[in-house]
């Protein structure tokens, strides 16, 4: 059984939802306190949504200094699957494990609403089980979710197929409608939408299952 560690910073709040999401897909999930430095027991790591360290300074700016982040960097460098959802994505960009940055939404308000995202690359641990061009209904829930990066980075991301998800109808002003990106190897992925909130039609959508199912089987196809 796949063992997934879900990192908990003080101020995280989607940790139980992330555990519930991957557990439904047969993975064994466990909370990992942010002071922990050994992740060797895990097959994959999730940085969940929330407000790590209160999002003081700016989202993710303090969390990158939590002791667990050195371990996450090592885990990623060894090819381990790492997924940052929402605040977790912000932490991964601040930690330099993913390119770009997340800035305040275009309308300067928090947005919690369903969005439709399009799978634009299957070369990642999050999208390997999805179909290129597939449309998925997955909610967003953030204030600082507008992806941004410089022109050179954007070109690199596009050339290498690192943009894994795009919004169909851009809700927050993200550059090039980007909703999720991966590192070059495809084993580290961040996205602003919450796939763990789209696991059941009772709650509005089950489209997140294809993404988390890819992640728990952690199958990175060759480029």
């Amino acid at each position: 059984m796949t063992r997934i560690g879900v990192v908990v910073f003080p101020g995280s709040n989607c940790e139980y939802d992330a555990v519930a999401g991957v557990s439904q897909l047969g993975a064994q999930a466990e909370l990992v306190w942010h002071s922990q430095t050994d992740l060797s027991a895990f097959d994959g790591i999730i940085l969940p949504g929330g407000f790590a360290h209160g999002d003081y300074l700016r989202p993710g700016a303090l969390a990158r200094f939590s002791p667990v982040m050195e371990a996450v960097a090592r885990f990623a460098a060894e090819g381990g699957p790492v997924l940052g959802i929402c605040n977790g994505f912000q932490v991964l960009t601040e930690a330099g494990l993913l390119p770009g940055a997340l800035q305040k939404n275009r309308g300067l308000t928090f947005l919690c609403q369903p969005t439709t995202v399009i799978v634009t690359s299957t070369h990642s641990v999050l999208t390997s089980g999805a179909i290129l061009g597939q449309e998925l209904v997955i909610p967003i829930n953030h204030f600082s979710g507008a992806f941004t990066c410089d022109d050179a980075t954007l070109k690199t991301l596009e050339d290498n197929g690192q943009v894994v998800l795009r919004y169909k109808d851009n809700p927050n002003g993200s550059r090039d409608d980007i909703a999720g990106v991966a590192n070059l190897a495809g084993n580290v992925v961040g996205l602003m939408p919450h796939p763990e909130r789209a696991m059941s039609t009772l709650l509005g959508s089950a489209d997140g299952r294809v993404l988390l199912a890819s992640f728990v089987t952690a199958n990175v196809p060759a480029a």
Partner: protein, 758 residues
Amino acid sequence: MSSAPEPLHRALGLTDPELEAIRSVLGREPNHLELALYAVMWSEHCSYKSSRIHLRRLPTTAPHVLVGPGENAGVIDAGDGIAVAIRIESHNHPSAIEPYQGAATGVGGILRDVFTMGARPLVVMDPLFFGELTDARQRWLVEGVVSGISGYGNSVGVPTVGGELTFDDCYASNPLVNVLCAGALPTERLVLGVASGVGNLAVLLGSSTGRDGIGGVSVLASAGFEGSDGATSLDDAKRPSVQVGDPYEEKRLIEACLELLDHGYVVGIQDLGGAGIVCATSETAARGGVGMDVDVTAIPLREPAMQPYEIMTSESQERMLAIITPENWPAVAALCAKWEVRATIVGHVVEPTPDKDGNPVGMLRVRHGFDGEILAEVPAKSLADEAPLYDRPRQRPANLDAVRADDPTDDEPVGSPNEDLLGLLVDPAWVYRQYDSQLFLNTVVGPGRDAALLRLAGPGLPISERGIALSTDSNPRWCALDPRTGTALTVAESVANLACVGATAKAVVNCLNFGNPEHPEVMWQLSEAIDGMAEACKGLGLPVIGGNVSLYNESGGNDIDPTPVVGLLGVVDSLIAPPPGWAWREGDTVVLVGARRAAGDQPFPLGGTRWATRRGRRGGRVPAFDAATFATTAAFVAREIAAICAGRPSDVTAVHDVSGGGLAAALGEMVAVTGVGADVTELESHGELFSEFPGRFVMATNDAGSFVDRARASGVAVVTLGTIGGARLRIGGQVDLSVQQIVHRREAALVEALALDA
């Protein structure tokens, strides 16, 4: 100018007879600190001294009630070993002055009330009332309050799943910001705010104590805004009484407290809200019948040179008081260190002291060091429970008969019903999109519908298939005309909302927002409203398990319209499929379920309706309330929808309660969210389009014959209104609008009124 200095007790908000009462309790002259303690604890906000004798008339018991009024939150047994705690509060005056922080700390305070009971807060709802948005100050208040709720609630990690949004000039200088929170816990973990066990320790958890919020309950919450321009003129003078919130501190405090409770480390726990440390220590000691020594020098401060009265009465946010045994202190300290939550021993539980007749009295002693000088020594119970109770003069408003006689029901309709209908449609999405409504994966029906519906699940809870439903409702237009019937109808409206998501109502909480209780007309309104609530709750078998009374909602001598807010909690026994909501489909038959005409002599009353109010017609009579017919109808609808939630096949495809804006608005809203039109038969009059009285439901079915048979078999009236489909909403010869027009006007209404770029 007056030259005599004001006596200290009056400056603190105590009256001369109250000073006499304190002297008689103590048998001596109180010192400055003691006076300050009484002033906050005997404030209207803490003591309910003007309302308590009336609140006793509310029914409060039922077999499933585990905790009724008087504790931090009411608690019911929801089944499957799960208890649900619920509480509602107001943060009106702080929000009038500092909308972001006022609203934010309102959320923080209500969460602490709920996790104090051992429950994890799972859901927040926010009924909000402002003046008309043509006024720039109102737009500033709306944006500030909504972003305060969003900023605090989202960050602290509790979903906000609903509320209400009301605009009326009576709130222009005194907006209302109410907040409801519900949480769940395994039934056996229920804890109460009781100090017991002589030798036990009182541990202060969370933030340090500062000068923010000193006198919040007495300066802000227990007096009106007096300037001729209301709140505006007093902004600067009263702003220091508003507390400042830190959701990150609160989040860690919640997690630490729930973990302390999981481990069984605490004997009792109490939040620090209004009146701060003095309130928490005196209430826990009074409930436990023990004494408490508080070392004022032990309390961590964030500012130098604070006086003992400031330390004891500060309303600094994000603090809790835990009563623990001395053996558990090392474990408590370690657990709090993990969550980066400050924990400090500030008090000792001590033996009661014999009074002059030898009866044991639990004394609250404030000391300079545990063995040091005694700065204040008063019976804890006298602070917590023995404030004077007032039966203030009540008087029916002299102009009420004239107001009721000025009835819009028989007005000749002027203008186009098309335009009337469009003007009644407001999509509140701009507000609720700013709230995380989904955290914890429980939200089946979120904001913007009849009622919120959630799975009854959360970390640490037993597995259950049940759901809980919540609605908050108010109708100040009705209550201004007739507070008694208006409040009864408001309770019914809430029950009807719950029926739309298949839930059976279980318990009521209320937030009674009224004007100045020293105005006899206001006291009459309050007393009538409580009677109306008592009648409706008794008629519908509902216990009232908690509440809040917010008085002095006035400015420049003008009281708000009476605004009792009802919070209703219900249960769905099996929730495995979503209820149908408003989503009718092409080809369905649309029916009106429930009594077509109101009880009494007016079949389609328009007094107090949104239709009449928009025309500046605020008089008239409210509909009579027929509890028996209403209850039969609501129970039938709840049964029909509950069957769908339980996964059983049904011909019912949509349901919506007829409320604000009447039948026309209900149909318009269903058209707006589905994008599918309807062809509805001619109605009796414009009154039938816009009349508002609870107990009617618009439903859609794909097997009208079967549905009508079931309704009639249950003794419920039903009439066929028409057919779903097409790109227009037609109601006889009265209304003819394109779906596109309806969708656009509803979506744009709020954004345009707020003068925002969409």
